[in-house]
């Protein structure tokens, strides 16, 4: 897969960091997460102009032409700043799926609009089982004239309520395939799901004879879905690692300034030892996420195992860091006004998206030959 030179990659990460430091402050996150759409269209445009939304898209289709390593670094910043928006849905899953499928017509129509941010796309894979596996697909496709019709249900569709275009995994008579559905198609009903993580948007989608366009698949359609999911796993790992590191930073800063019993609480070993353990978690998550990104970019022999490792290690690390950080803060972090719970909610959400840590642990053992 595509990769930029190291210097270029770090410079790009720095640009993203500066944009988000300015535009995705805690106050902005709190304002945005209460908007119905859950993202700020003007920031979305800025991210598109910077080349973040089209990061993975070929330059021929108006994208940046970067790959998993750049994606992972950008997502570290996205996680640290708790960015609200359909980046994972449109820029990663949908763009990744379209590139993996290789349907030239769909690419030409959709990728440039995804890259410039003018269209939001998302991918519907699992039904209400929430497994993101072929068995989890709960939409069926039947041929109707020279087109197709979809029936069934998809759930946990990220930013489904904001999407202009859906890419839907469905079981056709000849096997699993991916279909393109436009918002507003007849028989399509999108319901926004209330989410525990207010910075996230999820939707449930019902299909009742919805007309759909079947996309050509260069390899198998599920292989293409897996490729898109691999990108999403690496992206999520980077988000978790970057967010975990940020939480540890502000927790340690608090432990240096919060005084009880006449001492900064960070001077107590009870707190200090928690912080030391969290540093190990945070640094291990960064290592796992970056290694997975590199393995994916290079098509390394340990690619699949590295992605599984990052998927559960980063989820576990981010969950542990946020949970422990609330405890280390004490009462202040039990308030809505304190940011710790925003990260805790994101950690709990990220740990469920695209497969649970337990799923990836089992898969990891299998990939190691067990």
């Amino acid at each position: 897969m595509a990769t930029l030179a190291r210097e270029e990659r770090l410079a790009f990460q720095d640009q993203v960091r500066r944009l988000l430091a300015d535009r995705s402050t805690e106050a902005e996150v709190r304002r945005t997460m209460e908007l119905p759409a859950g993202y700020d269209p003007s920031l979305w445009r800025q991210l598109a102009e910077l080349g973040v939304v089209g990061l993975l898209i070929d330059e021929a289709h108006g994208g940046t032409g970067a790959g998993p390593m750049e994606l992972e670094l950008v997502m570290e910043e996205v996680g640290a700043a708790l960015l609200c928006g359909p980046l994972l849905s449109s820029g990663v899953l949908a763009a990744g799926l379209l590139q993996a499928l290789g349907d030239a017509d769909a690419q030409a129509r959709l990728l440039p609009r995804i890259a410039d941010g003018s269209a939001i796309a998302t991918v519907a894979i699992t039904g209400t089982s929430g497994t993101w596996t072929p068995e989890g697909v709960a939409v069926t496709a039947t041929a109707a004239g020279d087109g197709w019709r979809l029936d069934g249900e998809a759930s946990y569709v990220t930013h489904g309520q904001n999407a202009d275009v859906f890419l839907v995994a469905a079981n056709a008579p000849d096997g699993l395939a991916v279909f393109e559905v436009a918002t507003g198609a007849a028989g399509l009903a999108t319901t926004a799901l209330p989410t525990f993580d207010h910075t996230l948007r999820l939707a449930q989608i019902r299909f009742a004879g919805v007309p759909a366009r079947r996309l050509a698949a260069r390899g198998g359609a599920w292989d293409a879905v897996e490729q898109a999911l691999d990108l999403a796993r690496v992206a999520l790992a980077g988000e978790q690692a970057g967010a975990g590191r940020r939480v540890l930073e502000f927790t340690v800063d608090y432990a240096k300034t919060r005084v009880q019993f006449g001492r900064a609480i960070g001077s107590f070993q009870a707190i200090k030892h928690m912080a030391a353990d969290l540093l190990l978690e945070a640094e291990s998550a960064i290592s796992a996420a970056r290694h997975a990104a590199q393995a994916l970019a290079e098509g390394a022999p340990d690619r699949d195992a590295s992605i599984s490792l990052a998927a559960f290690a980063c989820a576990d690390a981010f969950s542990t860091i946020t949970a422990t950080a609330v405890q280390m803060h004490g009462g202040i972090a039990f308030t809505w006004a304190h940011p710790a719970h925003l990260y805790l909610r994101r950690a709990r959400a990220d740990a469920q998206l695209f497969g649970t840590p337990a799923f990836y642990r089992d898969r990891y053992v299998q990939q190691l030959g067990g």
Binding site: A264, H273, A276, L280, S287, D362, V365
Partner: protein
């Protein structure tokens, strides 16, 4: 000074590399077969002044800057020859050279470089483990016809490797009880072959004996063997510890190459299969968790090395020991779970049980030895994360008044 051009031009570097390579070509013929051969080789290296190139000429060095000394070390490493770079790695010789009195240096530095002097460390005590500065071995200044100016040492040291064969021990002992704990300690080269030194092997929890207890009863240390000033032993010790740590870091940076994927199957998975438990979903979760600890530590180490190569220091190195403690304890726990009641057994007929039981106990070697996990967490919290130190109640009190036990 040295007859080598020390200016750091590429030409000088190339000439130096050429010189050391041709010397090695003429003198190195593979690893010596025994200890005597090893010492003969070291003597040659010292004679040719390759052992301590950063040191001044009067101590067998060449007064070279670090970059050129590394050229010599790399040439030695390239052919697998030991003995160079001792100005970085020889704990004993470096400490003595920095703090020793002239006659002791003359007597021992060359012999130390040639590997002729057995050495041991007399630091820890039964009552001074994590809190080494709380040591209570006493050294009292005396003078008489039989021994001249000397110290009489009484106390007990523990966790001493190689004590039975050592000629000297690097000893920290208290010489002043009326000042705070760090200020009353002095540092000595204590002769080990004398009636006042009694070395007894220590039977470990694993039923092995890698360490000794050393009982010091009216042991005699010549005043000439004092390193640094009286009462300044703590700072001498810091220098010695720094050499020891850098050496441990070297070893840690050895052949174990971080991310490299081994082709052999992960031993824990093989053991789970053998035990018929690979299909157990709970065991599979535990397998993933423990194997991940190992893999993540390897990835952390690889990333720290890459950071160092890019010239940025990394906080990750300091996490390695803590990570390793967890790996060893968790791996031992999982092995025990995989074996079940088989772990009740021991002896050569039950090698899997032997392994699991040994590893369960020996994991403490890492989580207690060389600074407990708890001390390690203090160090990470304070030096890496910048958290304030715990107030120390005994820091400014005369040691005589400090509670021991």
């Amino acid at each position: 000074m040295a007859d080598v051009d020390t200016s750091q031009t590429p030409d000088a570097d190339e000439a130096l590399a050429q010189e050391v390579r041709s010397w090695l070509a003429a003198n190195w013929s593979g690893a010596p077969v025994d200890a005597a051969g090893h010492r003969q080789w070291l003597a040659k290296v010292v004679e040719a002044r390759w052992a301590v190139p950063r040191w001044p000429a009067e101590w067998g060095g060449r007064g070279l800057p670090d970059g050129q000394a590394r050229i010599i070390e790399r040439a030695f490493a390239a052919v697998g020859a030991p003995g160079s770079g001792q100005d970085r790695t020889n704990l004993w010789a470096n400490t003595l050279l920095a703090y020793g009195q002239p006659e002791l240096k003359q007597k021992l530095v060359p012999r130390l470089l040639r590997g002729e002097v057995g050495m041991c460390l007399l630091y820890s005590e039964p009552g001074a483990g994590s809190d080494l500065a709380g040591l209570r071995t006493r050294a009292e200044r005396r003078s008489d016809a039989a021994h001249g100016d000397h110290f009489v040492v009484n106390g007990q040291k523990v966790w001493t490797s190689n004590a039975a064969t050592a000629e000297y021990g690097m000893l920290v002992a208290r010489t002043d009880w009326d000042v705070p704990k760090h200020q009353g300690i002095s540092f000595f080269f204590c002769p080990m072959k004398q009636p006042g030194v009694d070395v007894r092997p220590l039977r470990q929890v694993t039923n092995e004996s890698h360490f000794n207890e050393v009982f010091l009863t009216d042991a005699i240390v010549p005043a000439a063997n004092q390193l640094g000033d009286l009462g300044q032993g703590w700072s001498v010790l810091q220098t010695a510890l720094a050499y020891e740590r850098s050496l441990m870091g070297e070893q840690a940076r050895g052949p174990r190459s971080g991310a490299a994927e081994s082709t052999a199957e992960e031993p824990l998975i093989a053991l789970a299969r053998e035990a018929g438990k690979l299909g157990d979903p709970l065991i599979r979760q535990e397998l993933a968790r423990v194997v991940a600890y190992k893999k993540l530590n390897a990835l952390n180490t690889a990333r720290a090395k890459a950071d160092l190569a890019q010239g940025t220091s990394s906080p990750i190195m300091s996490l390695g020991k803590l990570a390793m403690s967890r790996i060893l304890h968790e791996e031992a726990r999982l092995r025990t779970a995989l074996l079940g009641p088989e772990s009740l057994l021991e002896g050569p007929g039950h090698p899997r049980a032997e392994d699991a039981n040994f590893l369960s106990l020996n994991a403490y070697f890492t989580s207690i030895g060389g600074g407990t996990d708890q001390i390690q967490r203090n160090i990470i919290g304070e030096r890496v994360l910048g958290l304030p130190k715990e107030p120390e109640v005994d820091r400014d009190v005369p040691f005589r008044q400090v509670r021991g036990g």
